[in-house]
């Protein structure tokens, strides 16, 4: 919403400065977005007389001028390149030190081709006023030398633009803005009486609101009046200047009047050339397929969602949004029909969006125009038409009736303090409401408040509190500490999952992985490749084709990110993400996951070549190590954790594993990503990855105390024994370890695999797995016989479970 200072002062009697007005507007909720004050911006630019203009001695296209700048100052020498610079002309002069908006430079005293130049004669473009670069401004001979150009040119009316919130239709009107400022103490609102227009004779054109009963809200009230015998030419200068100042293009007097009242009073109007209207007007829903050429020259195809004004010949106007070209007013118009109607805000908003039309009328009707001003607005327009264009008005033809907007709010004054914490004197609150147009009835602690017709946004007590507080100023509310609910040391507030989510990120970062945050939506083929792509997780309106489906896994996003980095020359990528994934559109279908990928040689110990040994390409064990480290860091009890071969089909079938607490409780997977999947995603591998579902992890055991069990530190030396077991190639090392561990419960403190060998010396379908078993005596040093006995039990147990033989 834009307006000029002088226009505002038509409605507000004030001596407040521009600065105070601007500051107050923002303070009361009418946020000022921009102030354009040409008088201030162009203060240095003065009207000047060119006394002489001689050819520059060293440049064909330049002239050396002497310029009289006024106030009796001696003439100034200026070098000027404009073709129209000539002795005797009046133009605009800027002295050194002046900022030139059109060129974004600040002038200084210069020497141009050997001739000194002390300032500049300016074009309209240099002043940022027009696109006219052709020459310097050529002012009439009577232009007063030395005066500010902005004032002379009528540019000294500052333009203020406010960012209006959608709840304030009343401030789509300059009158409404003035009312708010007056309430805030910045002068008084001018209330000129608007006596009704007494027309001569009935309006010959009638209006039929052709709506079914349930559609009457689409147009509750419609006023129309004919003015005969108008002369429609350009509107007067003052009107054109105001419209231009707020960015509107003057058209002709009749159209300019409707635009003027739209801004002045927030009351959009429409004018039809009566000669081009056939028969009576009907207001109705458009029919499917009907078309209209609107005033913007474009053809709009309509349907039943659109309300139109039609005559016997067809649609003449898209109601409340834009008139039709056919019945528009031009210089030939002699009889004009003025329309002032009420439209349903929702329908206007929907129609405007669907047709893609943005107009000042739509802007107001979709917010809600003051219903009570429908007919006064028609009268105001009529009066302006007769004043500016002559003519004789008829009486108004009115269809429908003014909707009842009266509502009473039962308001205890204490509500202001209850919600805002601000204690205001009752008279101040009452004055505020009344100056905003509210009617306050009764006295005492509770009053009845009747909001004005122009405030459809005010529904209840909280709205009244807002009115009172915003006018008083939110800055008057002193901050007050919010006391703790209980006067105690803060207790932990994070849930287990929240704690684990935080910790997961720190742990994975500590493993050299870099945290990425990737889109929650991915391409459909990527989603499908990772078990997703369900129809209930596809967006109806994706922002891009490759951001169409909610992700079933974090891996596609990470893999794509890895490739983007590789394409930039960073191939050793170690990335992780902790975030949500989606298995259905239900809240239960959303899971919190942690995943990481490693590409190239991005190993835990470091990537790339190094004098101390080059890093090998990543393998599935890197991903396994990441996954297990994460589980340990999260405090997941890993006693029952199983690692079984194989994973989902987006992993390499022979180089992947599943982490589970029993077959029914998988918690995640790790391994090499399947080459086919990499191909789908256009990623060069190999890449290893893991993904763990944090929601699926068992909760930590609840313990009544924080006491740890006593540490049992044996006094006796541990003993280590090595065994090389020859087993079938398919036997899992994990089974050997488990069997060895199970052979002796109290003495065996640990079992490690220290070598795996396949090749010469053993069968082609066999491998040798060498394990070291650490025995920890508890109460005495072990005898050789005892050690031999345990060793024998280990060999027997491993052999029983896995068919192993000791390597000879």
């Amino acid at each position: 919403m834009k307006f000029t200072l002088s226009w505002l002062k038509d409605h507000l009697d004030t001596d407040a400065s521009l600065g105070t007005i601007v500051e107050t507007l923002t303070r009361i909720g009418l946020e000022v977005e921009r102030v354009e004050d040409k008088a201030a911006d162009l203060a240095a630019y003065r009207i000047a007389a060119v006394l002489t203009a001689e050819q520059h001695p060293n440049a064909d296209r330049l002239r050396v001028c002497t310029v009289e700048t006024g106030d009796g100052a001696p003439p100034v020498q200026v070098v000027c390149g404009a073709p129209n610079a000539r002795a005797g002309m009046k133009s605009v002069f800027a002295p050194p030190g002046t900022y030139v908006p059109g060129k974004d430079i600040t002038l200084s005293v210069g020497t141009i081709r050997g001739v000194e130049s002390r300032g500049m004669l300016c074009s309209g473009a240099e002043l940022g006023l027009s696109d006219d670069h052709d020459g310097i401004l050529d002012l009439p001979a009577d232009a007063p030398v030395g005066e500010a150009y902005a004032a002379y040119a009528g540019l000294d009316d500052p333009v203020i633009e406010i960012n209006l919130t959608p709840n304030r239709p009343d401030c789509t009107s300059i009158h409404g803005i003035a009312r708010d400022l007056a309430a805030a103490g910045l002068g008084s609102l001018k209330r000129e009486p608007l006596p009704p227009v007494r027309g001569e004779g009935a309006c010959p054109v009638s209006v039929d609101l052709a709506f079914a009963a349930e559609d009457r809200h689409l147009c509750p009230l419609f006023g129309l009046r004919l003015v005969r015998g108008v002369r429609n030419g350009p509107s007067p200068d003052w009107l054109q200047r105001r419209l231009r100042a707020i960015g509107l293009r003057p058209i002709n007097a009749l159209v300019d009047i409707t635009n003027y009242i739209t801004f002045d009073r927030g009351r959009p109007l429409h004018v039809f050339d009566a000669a081009k209207v056939t028969g009576n007007l009907t207001v109705r829903r458009a029919r499917v397929g009907e078309e209209v050429v609107a005033l913007d020259g474009r053809t709009y195809r309509l349907d039943e969602g659109v309300v139109v004004i039609a005559d016997a010949a067809g649609v003449e106007s898209i109601a409340g949004i834009m008139g039709g070209e056919h019945s528009g007013c031009d210089e030939t118009t002699t009889d004009v029909l003025i329309e002032s109607a009420l439209w349903d805000p929702r329908t206007i908003a929907q129609t405007g969006r669907r047709l893609g039309i943005i107009t000042d009328a739509r802007y107001r009707f979709e917010r809600g125009v003051d219903p009570a001003f429908t007919l006064p607005g028609l009268d105001l327009a009529t009066r302006m038409v007769t004043e500016l264009c002559g003519g004789i008005p008829t009486q108004a033809s009115v269809a429908g009736e003014m909707p009842d907007t009266d509502r009473v709010i039962d308001f205890p004054w204490t509500e202001v303090r209850r919600l805002s914490g601000l204690d205001l004197p009752r008279p101040e609150m009452k004055v505020t409401l009344e100056s905003l147009g509210f009617h306050v009835a009764g006295s005492g602690d509770r009053v009845k408040v009747l909001p004005p017709s122009w405030r459809p946004d005010v529904e209840g007590k909280a709205d009244l509190v807002e009115e009172i507080v915003r006018i008083a100023g939110l800055d008057r509310i002193d901050p007050k500490p919010l006391p703790r609910i209980e006067a105690t040391v803060i207790r932990p507030v994070l849930t287990v999952l929240q704690r684990r989510t935080r910790l997961a990120k720190r742990e994975l970062a500590a493993r050299g992985l870099v945290e990425a945050v990737t889109w929650s939506f991915i391409a459909k083929d990527e989603a499908r490749a990772f078990g997703g792509g369900r129809p209930d997780l596809a967006l109806a309106n994706p922002i891009a084709a490759d951001l169409s489906d909610m992700r079933p896994s974090l891996l596609p996003g990470l893999l794509r990110a890895a490739q983007r980095n590789a394409d930039r020359g960073y191939g050793d990528v170690a990335l992780f993400e902790v975030g949500q994934c989606f298995a259905s559109d239900q809240p239960e279908g959303q899971s919190m996951r942690a995943a990481a990928i490693r590409r190239g040689t991005a190993r835990f110990a470091g990537a790339g070549r190094h004098w101390d040994g080059a890093a090998q390409a990543v393998d599935a064990f890197e991903a396994k190590a990441d996954a297990l480290a994460l589980l340990t860091a999260l405090g997941v009890p890993t006693g029952g954790l199983q690692v079984v071969a194989g994973g989902p089909d987006y992993f390499h079938p022979g180089r992947s594993g599943t982490l589970q607490f029993g077959p029914k409780n998988p918690i995640g997977h790790f391994g090499e990503v399947h080459p086919r999947v990499l191909k789908t995603l256009d990623v060069k591998g190999p890449v290893v990855a893991f993904e763990i579902v944090l929601d699926a992890l068992p909760l930590p055991k609840h313990r009544p105390t924080k006491v740890k069990p006593p540490a049992k530190l044996s006094e006796f030396q541990p003993v280590s024994r090595d065994f090389a077991f020859v087993v079938g190639r398919d036997v899992a090392a994990g089974d050997i370890l488990k069997a060895a561990q199970a052979a002796e419960r109290t003495l065996i403190a640990g079992v490690e695999v220290f070598d795996v060998y396949e090749g010469a010396g053993i069968g082609s379908d066999q491998k040798s797995v060498a394990v070291a078993v650490r025995l920890q005596p508890v109460d005495r040093t072990l005898t050789d016989a005892e050690i031999e006995a345990v060793s024998a039990r280990i060999v027997a147990e491993v052999s029983r479970k896995t068919g192993a033989t000791l390597r000879g």
């Binding site: 209850r418 901050p479 050299g512 939506f521 990470l558 470091g606």
Partner: protein
């Protein structure tokens, strides 16, 4: 007597001349070995008369002790020299670079860091963290929050919708974390103090908007929470978060469907060469929206607006991260460019806390 003196100087000279451990041992055997010169002299003591022994004994024993001492000293100095020679040979080039450790390479995303900072601050003020699903119903995202039917935010060009189900109802991606507030109010009795951080989505993509972004909202509901408390919380938060002694904030009346009264909050700052500093200057920068929870919202959550009251606020996590840490552009937040993450990310052990300071 001269024979003893000359023997001693001869032996000491040999000890001193021994170039290595082996030569020194040869000297030792020649002097103190079974048939060594000094040992022979010692043997003669038994053949002497007591008077002679009294005189010769100390002389010969003294000789032995001095030679022995010289050998020991020589051995130590030889060992010292050998060690020095070995160490000199073992010299390494300490300027060779070592591999960076994993904890040096790893990074935490600025969004994670800022959420942790926000959690530390509001946790201290007694807030807990509420979360909810990203895929929401129209009811929770709009209706319960007092968005009227036909509100532009409910259109396809503002909000992401999923395919409609059999009943024609379509789920959506939450446009703010406010549905979490509704879920909280519907399941918890006041007093309520929660913050709701999370991912949010809007159908918007340009220089300053991404279709996915992060928000944190706060909610306080009890019997007396009002705008004065809201102002205090936000001022304290901004001071703590931006780590400045004081901030000047401006509360501008504004409009949101779900709060009444509503305000937008600007924070005073200076902008010098693209760097924003708080607590100084005279520019205003909008950082959040807030207000008293609208009575209609309280009613939608089964609360009586005449009995309980409270306030809510919301701000962009990515945005305040940009303001605090100076990222000029939002879009790289979601591009996973290692160079950007390495530069703007945080080290794994940069864990924000109030006692230690949010940033070190």
């Amino acid at each position: 007597m001269t024979d003893l003196h000359s023997l001693e100087s001869d032996l000491l000279a040999k000890v001193e001349a021994a170039a290595d451990e082996a030569a020194l041992d040869g000297v030792r055997v020649a002097a103190l070995g079974k048939k060594g010169a000094v040992s022979d002299l010692l043997k003669t003591l038994g053949t002497l008369s007591p008077e002679e022994r009294k005189e010769r004994g100390p002389l010969i024993n003294g000789l032995r002790d001095r030679v022995q001492g010289a050998i020991l000293a020589r051995r130590e100095s030889l060992a010292e020299a050998a060690l020095a020679a070995r160490l000199a040979a073992e010299r390494i080039d300490v300027t060779l670079p070592v591999r960076e450790g994993p904890e040096t390479r790893g990074r935490v995303h600025p969004i994670t860091q800022v959420i942790d900072e926000i959690t530390a601050i509001f946790g201290d003020m007694g807030f807990s963290i509420a979360e909810g699903p990203d895929i929401e119903t129209d009811e929770l995202n709009f209706t319960a929050l007092n968005f009227p039917e036909g509100h532009p935010a409910r259109e396809m060009h503002d909000t992401f919708f999923l395919a409609p189900d059999r009943d024609g109802k379509r789920k959506l991606l939450r446009t703010h974390t406010s549905p979490v507030q509704v879920r909280t109010m519907r399941t918890q009795q006041p007093p309520i103090r929660v913050i709701c951080p999370g991912r949010t989505y809007r159908h918007d993509s340009d220089q300053t908007h991404t279709p996915m972004f992060h928000q944190v909202e706060g909610l306080v509901i009890d019997r007396s929470a009002n705008i004065a408390h809201l102002k205090w919380i936000l001022e304290e938060f901004c001071k703590a978060f931006f780590e400045v002694e004081s901030v000047k904030m401006r509360f501008r009346p504004s409009f949101f469907p779900f709060t009444e009264p509503s305000a937008e909050v600007d924070i005073q700052c200076s902008r010098k060469g693209g760097e924003i500093r708080f607590g100084e200057g005279d520019d205003w920068l909008e950082i959040l929206g807030c207000g008293m929870v609208h009575p209609n919202v309280l009613r939608q959550c089964g609360l009586d607006p005449d009995q309980v009251q409270g306030f809510a606020w919301g701000m962009g996590i990515d945005r305040i991260a940009m303001l605090k840490y100076g990222m000029p552009d939002l879009r790289p937040f979601f591009e996973a460019d290692l160079r950007w993450l390495d530069h703007y990310g945080f080290r794994p052990l940069d864990i924000p806390s109030l006692v230690g300071g949010l940033t070190g």
